[in-house]
Subunit: 298 residues, 2 copies
């Protein structure tokens, strides 16, 4: 089945302890699409400016990603600049230029509307609702961030009531619910709407909370993290893409989706930007999936 | 097979967001012994003062723990006072009174010397070496802490060269090796001697590093953590006790030992002090072990 995604497409400037990547291809929807395209047909909805390099468009198209929903607006592409610490689990945002993203109102082409799976990337929750109004998806996943929890909580709560799954990191669970215990926190998030709560814990893996069901997935023990940018978005893409690809959502497929998401995310960290993600094959992912099995077996 | 343990026996005063436990039974060797006794014969070596309640001695004896190595010295028992934060993963030590522990030099009775498994609890590394000189164990595990890494690094390195396994938490790995990446850090710890490195990550579970072998164990998703004091020591007791009980150390038994350790540790957090640990049965532990299987299955 198809999966549609709405979210940011960016030019990222990233500094890590090992190097620097100037105005590389970035954005949540970019990583999501490249990851999900390994498993299912992807329909990307987003906006870029006049300066967005044709090579990036070509890369996405070469992966079979449907770009009918890719709007090119007058102005400059969204830019993000960040610097990672020596402990690469931490980073600072140095600069954000919304540019064409500032006035973006997603318009879904017919095929994107019709996709049975939909992912609402990390954009203002009122825009996420606008997308929901257009879409006919039967399974909707959502990402959000501290900013929206802080400044648009009512809008966020409104859209949360209408989605099936949320993918959220542990600090966001605490901020959203006030619970420092993640089990209680995830229950509180479920009470806001989504029946499936996926909590990303970075280097500590991931927890999946469903109906009387908890799954704990390890993180892949990466020795050299080159650039973690987009790891969370790649996770979401692997997760949603796998579910769309197998076309059913139950405890078994959700658990596997979490591991496929984790596998894809681990590749993303191995090179700058989406470079590694763009070169891996379904076979590479399957090999890593089997490594996850060994990692967790007892 | 038997397991000997050398470490602290204490009277702990603990405050948590849900309550307070005044001068309760505590100490690393206490938790270790109660946990390990679920799996193997335990020989406890430690020191208490004249004020140590007879009821605590009775409790340990009732669990079949060999107390021939329990020295009663003139003076007061070691005391620790701590307060847990609202986020119960963090705590402050409010007071430490070493008392009889200050001049403790462990003397192992013959049966404790002869035990094939030995655990060197978190005491000064030069004392750990003193114990090693007496013992005939073929498998030795060790715990340590930030304090010894900071003030007795050479002594610690000397004893590390002589042990088979270290049980250490993630922040200690970083302090000991200077590596913020845990995979690199664990490799660096292995280069110091111990071929088996068990990294405890609290609510994020545990990583086991062996010969070309990594195992990631989830933490049990506890909704109500009453008092985490002794969880790490209970983990060590379950881990070493299980290995001693099955009498062999290989990848399969080590992985199971990590899960049994995690299971026992999760019980410890459910009540103040060792109250829960003292009441559980081998059957309870087995049930929780099966819950870990479900938690990690995909």
């Amino acid at each position: 089945m198809d999966v549609s995604v709405v979210g940011s497409i960016a030019l990222d400037t990233v500094e890590t302890p090992t190097g620097r990547n100037e105005e590389g291809l970035g954005g949540a929807a970019t990583y999501f699409s490249l990851a999900a395209a390994q498993f299912a047909a992807v329909r990307l909805v987003g906006v870029v400016g006049e300066d967005f390099p044709a090579a990036h468009v070509e890369l996405l198209r070469s992966k079979g990603i449907d770009l009918d929903g890719l709007e090119r607006a007058s102005g400059k592409t969204f830019r993000w600049t960040g610097r990672y610490h020596e402990d690469i689990n931490n980073r600072d945002t140095l600069d954000t230029q919304l540019n064409v993203f500032e006035h973006f109102h997603p318009k879904l082409p017919p095929a994107a509307c019709a996709a049975p799976f939909l992912f609402l990337g990390n954009i203002h929750p009122s825009l996420q609702t606008e997308v929901l109004e257009q879409a006919k998806a039967s399974f909707v996943g959502l990402d959000t961030m501290n900013l929206w929890i802080n400044i648009a909580l009512d809008d966020l709560k409104a859209v949360l009531r209408r989605v099936n799954a949320i993918i959220i990191n542990d600090s966001e669970v605490k901020l959203l619910t006030g619970e420092s215990n993640l089990v209680k926190g995830a229950k509180a998030v479920r009470a806001l709407g989504p029946r499936i709560v996926v909590v990303k814990k970075g280097e500590h893996g991931c927890l999946l909370f469903g109906e009387d069901d908890i799954f704990s997935a390890p993180a892949y023990p990466l020795e050299n993290v080159v650039d973690p940018t987009g790891a969370g978005d790649s996770f979401a893409g692997g997760f949603m893409g796998y579910l769309a690809g197998c076309g059913k959502v139950d405890s078994a497929s959700l658990r596997q989706a979490v591991v496929y998401g984790s596998a894809v995310a681990s590749f993303t960290c191995e090179k700058f930007g989406p470079d590694r993600l763009a070169e891996i094959t379904r076979h590479d992912i399957q090999q890593r999936f089997e490594e996850f099995r060994k990692l967790a077996a007892f």
